[in-house]
């Protein structure tokens, strides 16, 4: 093909328009995170609400009657302001109560909001995609180098820098902004100086929400408004924020620019790259620059938070109750129907999965947003052995933890060098890369159609036997984890989490400890994945998709990260609730969201923490 630089310039403009849209959403997210340290999972939902509200306001009510230029822009701005007000409300009613909770716990609350908004939007606006009106004066296209280019895209290209400029003015030329920057830098100090934290936080959340709402509202002349907008945008927005450096506005702008342009040009060369591009970029950036492009160095990172006391042994009566429940489960199983046995086998697998994540989240002190990668690695190891070598279940179950452990060693080597949200996002990047391999390497993995026929060996095919097998292996896994946590290795792991400097001073190698923990955790997740595969008879890329990673995270957080009981209780509670609700109502997401929200507000130490509170 002839080299046509004109075409490339136009493609560059397309990249700028996408970058601008992306920046609007990401800017709100980064502002919120910078000050409140909240990982706002609901940011995509606010974006979606902005779009739906703008659609409604341009079609109905006073702005629709006004029509024309003022009607349209009035509707867009009102939508953004409404979302800002909603954001303030959410902060005051929910998040404000959770600032003292452990890190990432707010993520649970914001995830509950995601679920609630999904169903509320469906109820209010119906399931059909909506097309908004085109913007007055900006309907058509202009000719650039012989290609028609939409005026509205040109306008969007301008909006990004304008918003960036306005935010800069706000942050540097207003009292509110100066306080914000101070709080981003050192929250405690600002509080000590007598600044009203509550108002500051409410304000910043409203600001961030408003930016998300504006981002959504501005999309309606160019994209359809759909119920999937929230999920489509949230992950990319996070990636932009992290690549740019958490809390850095300039970084977010730079990252949005990079992503937008790489995407626009990437599809010219590799049309199938879209699935994984942003995650590849994130992985490269984080491996080379662990604090993102413009993020501040580790100097401001963890200011020695008081370490939570070591949890004592489980209180006597509770321990006996747990043992009794386990014995009862084994004894009762033969009298249960097939379906309860299927469910119980699923629950055992999920308990092991959650418990394996707990090892790195609790004692390890690292979060993982991509734990499904190892679950999936185990499942795919079993399925690939079956597909290509016709290996029986026994072989698959032995090989799976090794395969997943190896993947864990590989990914972990990069991830455990980072800390906090950066580490978590790097795990997400690797998980998405693994996911896209399972999705795109059709010849080997079967692509999204998966690998079928991965059923257990003859002797384990009965529901009862398979349940006992799942229970036995999961219990063995959990007991192994318990042993590890209480062994010197586990204590050393805690030591490097609570006080890296002192741990180093007594000769502990933090990197090595975290790396080994990561691999062990991956191996056990892999065992869970293989069991799950045999239970379902098939393996799909969704086994290592983001939703499964999020599920694991929610189970651990819901149960509480302090003790190993947490993920066990959390897994059963979360999976059980979801299963029951999905059978009872179409609105199960709404109900589940409300229940999680209630649990979060009443048990900020997790479900297992709630049981222990008295004797703690």
């Amino acid at each position: 093909m002839a080299f046509d630089w004109q075409g490339l310039v136009v493609q560059g403009l397309n990249g700028l328009a996408s970058a601008s849209s992306l920046f609007l959403v990401a800017s709100g997210l980064t502002v919120i995170f910078g000050v409140s340290r909240i990982v706002n999972f609901a940011h995509g939902s606010l974006y979606m609400l902005g779009a739906y509200l703008a659609w409604t306001l341009t079609a109905h009510g006073p702005f629709a009657e006004l029509g024309g230029f003022w009607g349209f822009w009035g509707a867009i701005l009102s939508a953004a302001l409404t979302v800002a007000a909603l954001g303030a409300l959410v902060e005051m009613l929910v998040l404000r109560r959770l600032y003292q909770a452990p890190e990432l716990f707010q993520l649970l609350a914001t995830f509950a909001l995601v679920l609630i908004v999904q169903d509320v939007a469906l109820l209010l606006w119906g399931p059909d995609d909506k097309f908004g009106p085109r913007a007055p004066l900006l309907r058509g296209a202009t000719e650039i180098f012989g290609a028609r280019f939409p005026l509205y895209e040109l306008f969007l290209i301008a909006v990004g820098p304008v918003v960036l400029g306005l935010l800069w003015l706000l942050l540097h030329r207003s009292r509110f902004g100066i306080l914000l920057r101070a709080a981003t830098h050192d929250r405690e100090m600002v509080a000590a100086l007598g600044v009203d934290q509550k108002r500051l936080f409410t304000g910043v959340f409203a600001l961030g929400a408003g930016l998300a709402g504006l981002g959504g509202a501005l999309q309606i002349p160019r994209e359809a408004v759909t119920l999937h907008m929230d999920m489509a945008v949230i992950v990319e927005a996070f990636v932009v924020v992290v690549i740019g450096g958490l809390g850095s506005l300039g970084g977010a702008a730079l990252a949005a620019l990079i992503i937008g342009e790489l995407h626009a040009f990437g599809i010219l060369v590799f049309p199938r790259i879209t699935l994984v591009l942003v995650f590849l970029v994130m992985a490269v950036v984080l491996v080379l620059r662990p604090q993102g492009l413009l993020g501040r160095g580790a100097a401001t990172a963890p200011v020695a938070a008081p370490a939570p006391p070591l949890p004592g042994p489980m209180p006597g009566p509770l321990r006996w109750a747990a043992i009794a429940a386990a014995v009862a489960l084994v004894g009762v199983a033969p009298f249960l129907g097939d379906y309860p046995l299927i469910l119980l086998a699923d629950f055992s697998v999920l308990v092991l999965f959650a418990a394996s994540l707990h090892l790195i989240m609790g004692p390890g002190g690292m979060a993982s947003f991509g734990h499904a990668a190892y679950f999936g690695a185990g499942a795919y190891a079993a399925a690939l052995l079956f597909k290509h070598l016709a290996a029986p279940m026994e072989v698959g179950l032995i090989a799976a933890p090794f395969a997943a452990g190896l993947v864990g060693l590989l990914f972990g080597w990069f991830c455990v060098r980072l800390s906090g949200v950066y580490a978590a996002m790097l795990t997400l990047a690797f998980a998405q890369i693994a996911w896209s391999i399972s999705f795109q390497w059709v010849e080997v993995t079967g692509g999204d159609n998966g690998i079928l026929g991965v059923w257990p060996s003859g002797w384990a095919r009965g529901r009862l036997v398979f349940f006992y097998l799942s229970l036995a292996l999961s219990a063995a896994g959990v007991l192994l984890l318990r042993r590890i946590i209480r062994a010197p290795f586990g204590l050393a792991l805690r030591a490097q989490r609570d006080s890296p400097l002192r741990a180093e001073a007594i000769g502990l190698d933090g990197f090595l400890l975290r790396w080994i923990a990561f691999a062990v955790s991956a191996a056990l997740a892999g065992l869970a994945g293989a069991l799950f595969a045999y239970g379902k008879g098939s393996v799909f890329p969704s086994f290592l998709g983001i939703p499964r990673s999020v599920d694991a995270l929610l189970m651990v957080l819901l149960g509480g990260v302090q003790t190993l009981t947490g993920p066990i209780v959390g897994a059963i509670a979360y999976a059980g609730l979801q299963e029951q609700l999905a059978r009872l109502t179409d609105c199960w997401r709404l109900v589940l969201g409300v229940v999680i929200l209630a649990l979060v507000l009443f048990f900020p130490r997790g479900l297992a923490g709630a049981f222990r509170r008295r004797d703690a």
């Binding site: 136009v10 399931p127 995609d129 119920l227 999937h228 097939d338 998966g450 026929g453 098939s538 999905a582």
Partner: protein, 406 residues
């Protein structure tokens, strides 16, 4: 919104009924229970109308005396778009709800997972919507039957029309997953057979549901194709079309587009609907034969809106299952499988009888092929004809070679 509340009430009703009668009731004279699994929360726009069509047909079958006096009863379940959940729910429906057969499926991988569950557990699975060819060919099995015209069939219908046109340089745009990849593969292969001189100058594979429409349109424009084969649908289609219209991508070009003539996809396009695309679909408003008019009126009366393509699929699947049950006179799986092979039933399209081929368990339900046209503020299908599925399927000997023999 009103019908949404209605659906929820109905689900709750079914659920309560299910709770009230947990014991498996297989007594003669009791209802015949069907377990229906679909991605209701993940794809509400397509599956709401589908469930309505299903319920309408079930009501009509039951009003006409059911199956030898036994009414049909359906237990609906939501798999949230995850194949592993679908398999769990299949276990629940078979073991706890005592359903005689399974049905449903929208996403291809959910359909394949259910098909494999059916094979493993020797239960009948009447797949409704999944389009993947693998379901009846490379991964077909004795217990799985599929109603809707498959990816291959829809692509073949478009190729027939596209081959008549002068366009030689083709570019393709398809969502990056199995359906999109297969559609592109078949379109290329089948077009090359009819027009050996046709060339394919490039392809775009945006991620499903996350198309960057501006960049994609521009990338296609750079290729200067004479024809474009489009497989995007839903949100991607809307965004693609709006950007394509603004940038003049479709002007003076032939466009062949999978499924875009279905009301599901045509209606949300509104006044963006492009003119003159060759599409497969369902010209609901102009299909005025007696059977279809009756169905359309009954549907509108019951649900207060017009049916969509999914409604017909749901309606036809119940008709097919009812016909099969009447012939089988039993709810034993093997008897039902034998009855299903070669069963004939009238489609709600009113275009005559449809049969399930014994060789590959694919129904011969067809689709309508026509052109899009913008009239006023909405698009519709014109110059359409019914393409009988039987004419667009490979021969039985050929598919036998593709199917694992069981």
């Amino acid at each position: 919104m009103l019908h949404g509340v209605g659906r929820r009430g109905l689900m709750a009703g079914v659920a309560v009924a299910a709770l009230a009668r947990p014991a498996v009731s297989r007594a003669q004279g009791g209802p015949i229970r069907i377990g229906e699994i679909n991605s209701y929360t993940a794809q509400p726009a397509f599956l709401g109308p589908y469930r309505n069509g299903w319920l309408l047909a079930q009501e009509q079958v039951n009003a006409a005396g059911g199956i030898d006096g036994r009414p049909l009863e359906t237990v609906f379940r939501d798999d949230a778009g995850k194949p592993e959940d679908a398999v769990r729910l299949a276990g629940e429906l078979v073991n706890a709800e005592g359903v005689a057969l399974l049905a449903g499926g929208y996403l291809s991988n959910v359909g394949l997972a259910l098909g494999d569950f059916a094979r493993q557990n020797k239960k009948l699975y009447a797949a409704s919507e999944p389009l993947t060819d693998a379901l009846v060919w490379s991964r077909g099995n004795r217990y799985t039957f599929r109603l809707r015209p498959s990816t291959y069939m829809q692509a073949a219908m478009l190729v027939e029309e596209a081959a008549k046109l002068p366009a030689m340089r083709w570019a393709t745009v398809a969502p990056n997953y199995e359906y999109g990849q297969s559609a592109v593969k078949w379109f290329r292969e089948l077009l090359a057979k009819k027009r050996p001189d046709a060339t394919f100058v490039g392809e775009q594979f945006p991620a499903l549901g996350r198309i960057d429409a501006g960049a994609t349109v521009q990338a296609l424009e750079r290729l200067r194709p004479e024809g474009i084969f489009n497989v995007t649908f839903g949100t991607d289609l809307l965004n693609f079309v709006r950007q394509g219209n603004t940038r003049g991508l479709f002007e003076g070009r032939t466009v062949a587009s999978m499924l875009s003539g279905e009301p599901e996809y045509l209606e949300p396009l509104g006044e963006e609907c492009p003119d003159g695309w060759i599409v497969t679909g369902y010209p609901r408003d102009d299909l005025n034969n007696e059977t279809h008019v009756k169905l359309r009126d009954a549907y509108r009366q019951k649900f207060g809106e017009l049916p969509r393509c999914g409604s017909i699929v749901g309606y036809d699947n119940v008709q097919a299952i009812a016909a099969m049950l009447r012939k089988a006179r039993s709810t034993e799986t093997e008897a039902m499988v034998e009855a299903f092979r070669g069963i004939r039933f009238p489609t709600g399209y009113g275009t005559g009888e449809v049969t399930f081929r014994a060789a590959d368990h694919q129904s011969t339900l067809g689709a309508f092929v026509g052109r899009t046209k913008l009239e006023g503020k909405r698009g519709r299908m014109v110059d359409w004809r019914y393409a009988d599925g039987a004419d667009y399927l490979p021969g039985e000997a050929e598919v036998r070679a593709w199917r694992p023999q069981d």
